[in-house]
Subunit: 391 residues, 2 copies
């Protein structure tokens, strides 16, 4: 087990009608002038935004609405949000939505507390030393951003997708009502499930040894997600399946499953360039990239892939043929992704084999580094994985 | 899944030599005058206290030492600590030790911020609305108090053992270096393991339905503890086994395994009176009471006991005879306790059958309530469980 630091100070309020608590939570965190950031129509049409506004009015909290959050959130909107936050002397940013709204909100909160161009914080020119506090009303379980230290933004100049990690990004509170996810279309439910599974795989596939406790916790969470996902796709109004997915998405990315482990994150790196270039749903991009990554790296740690196959996918064990078991597990994962309606090839997301060199050019790897830790991927490895994803 | 609130804001610094961080962490949490509370000689002899003192001196933090923490911490010491904290204008309480030192420290922190008798907060006469901040350097993994909201104290008048739950009790930081547990005698290691398993069982044995995710997480943690405990008892200097036990002890009681579940806690209630009356190690008392509780309640939810047997104890499943499987699991738990050197009967801890009525008289149950939620225990049920524990 590696030495580690773990800190997840977010207060979670989880359950039916949990959004009613938003006024009380804003008061508790001393919010007086709130920027409410959200995406498009569904939050308005469902009445959720209205309920949140009522709760804020009842609590006597001043607020301004700032819509327009989009998937793969971009810098342009962040600049607008920062400007508005400054003009309105905002002291709290509330995101109502999924990972995109939350990540934009976090970037606005960082930028409003930084005198220069917020992108300095993203490209390493400046260190994060302050941020406005952020709260969340979650509507899409997927990104885990409601508990995570990360915030990913794509800069329009060059379509560079970059993330920052900071405790300042950890929301003060997160309100999670599984009922709010009833209306998610199956594709978005499936993409969310894929995203949270990917957050676990990035931690599970590790070079660290003696991590049995977190191995067990990762496998436990994966099993629960797989079971609940199959139900939620079939029965969108199944509260228990939705609740399981919601909470699994949170713990998949609050850091608890990665303690004491060197994490990987190369597949996220490979996918980020895909979704930046084609604007595909992040989860769908991960469904394409993860099986390819797994096939390419199976020999790095056959034993690990074998236990994943047995413990999560129920592949019958065969100690004499561990690689066969390992590959059967990867095949089971791919079959599961297809079952829940995810694409698993470049073609399925409109990505093109001839763009691979462009994708490779954008990877951070080009700063002389390799990607990931489970296997330190060179540019050539990354090319091979993209090629596997074309098949 | 039940609606829930989850909040675990403690910052954990985990790993070899982690205690070196104590000065920095105290500074970060704006501590200027620190009361250092600890137990007896082992912390002085091992040099740990000296290292902590050096770190505080280097950080320029004023501190006073206040030793004397004992197992099943009592009110007398708490009163002394509160007096000292007031006289020294303490603004931070640092516990160096295990659950006893931490619980005393929490009670001192509560009492120093309360103008009246701190016991008012324990017997329900007053509400907790403030506390001094508390930090922890952990030396005994067991109680989980380094992350929990609880603090248990025994009042010398009547030897009443009572706990309070409050977010004010959650430590600001907890330093956990598994190497500090190398010198724990096997008995204390085993008692700690029993205590953390009990914290999980109190959550696992629930009347709540549709809790698959946390069922899986509970079982995963239990499996990891059982595996690591067998190693640590045999090889006290095995870092990985010690590390697994340390972190498992923390997550067993930080609330994460109980989210969305109605918890039970009747066995802790039954044990608290035992350890208050005989001053036995809490974990040993739990080793006596938990198998008895399980045998008595097996019919409440045979299915739940069956999956525990199969998933944690590796009992071969037999769908035609679920109760047989369930009982085999309880027997396996009892055998494990004996294996690691724990007593499992009244006799083993010097408790007496003829004291059962005295124990029953002290139980909170006598305020007209029943005990627990998995099965709502009446006084007669409690008597039967104590009697089972005599066998």
């Amino acid at each position: 087990m590696e030495n580690f630091r773990f800190y997840s100070p977010t207060e979670f309020v989880f359950g039916r009608q949990a959004e009613r608590e938003v006024g009380k939570l804003l008061q508790k965190h001393k919010a007086t002038r709130v920027l409410v950031h959200f995406g498009g129509g569904s939050i308005i049409q469902s009445g959720l935004l209205g309920r949140v506004e009522s709760a804020m009015k009842d609590a006597g909290v001043y607020y301004v609405l700032f819509g327009g959050a989009v998937p793969n959130p971009r810098s342009g909107l962040v600049y607008q949000g920062i400007e508005l936050a400054r003009a309105e002397q905002i002291d709290f940013v509330l995101a109502v939505g999924g990972g995109s709204a939350i990540d934009s909100a976090k970037a606005i909160a960082l930028g409003a507390a930084y005198p220069g161009d917020f992108w300095d914080l993203y490209d390493g020119k400046a260190k994060i030393v302050a941020a406005l506090p952020v709260g969340v009303v979650l509507t899409i379980p997927a990104a885990g951003s409601e508990a995570s230290a990360s915030a990913v933004i794509t800069h329009e100049k060059g379509m560079l997708k970059r993330g920052v990690l900071s405790d300042f990004n950890r929301p003060k509170f997160a309100i999670i009502n599984p009922e709010l996810t009833y209306t998610l279309p199956p594709y978005q439910t499936a993409a969310g499930v894929t995203d949270m599974m990917a957050h676990i795989f990035e931690r599970y596939l590790t070079p660290s040894k003696h991590v049995e406790l977190t191995d067990q916790l990762c496998e436990a969470t994966l099993r629960a997600i797989v079971g609940a996902a199959r139900i939620a796709i079939r029965e969108p109004l199944n509260y228990e399946a939705r609740a399981t997915i919601c909470w699994a998405g949170t713990i998949a990315h609050n850091g608890s499953l990665g303690v004491g482990r060197i994490e990987d994150w190369s597949t996220h790196g490979l996918e980020h360039e895909l979704s930046a270039l084609y604007d595909v749903t992040h989860g769908a991009g991960l469904a394409v990239m993860f099986p390819a990554f797994m096939k390419y790296t199976v020999d790095v740690d056959v034993e690990r892939y074998r236990r994943l196959a047995v413990n999560v996918w129920g592949v019958p064990d065969d100690p004499d043929h561990p690689k066969r078991v390992a590959l059967a597990g990867i095949a089971a994962f791919e079959a599961f992704l297809k079952d829940i309606g995810m694409p698993t090839t470049f073609e399925g997301i409109g990505a093109k084999r001839e763009d691979i060199e462009t994708l490779l050019d954008k990877l951070e790897i080009n700063r002389g580094k390799t990607l990931g830790s489970f296997m330190k991927l060179t540019r050539s490895d990354c090319r091979n994985i993209y090629l596997l994803a074309c098949e």
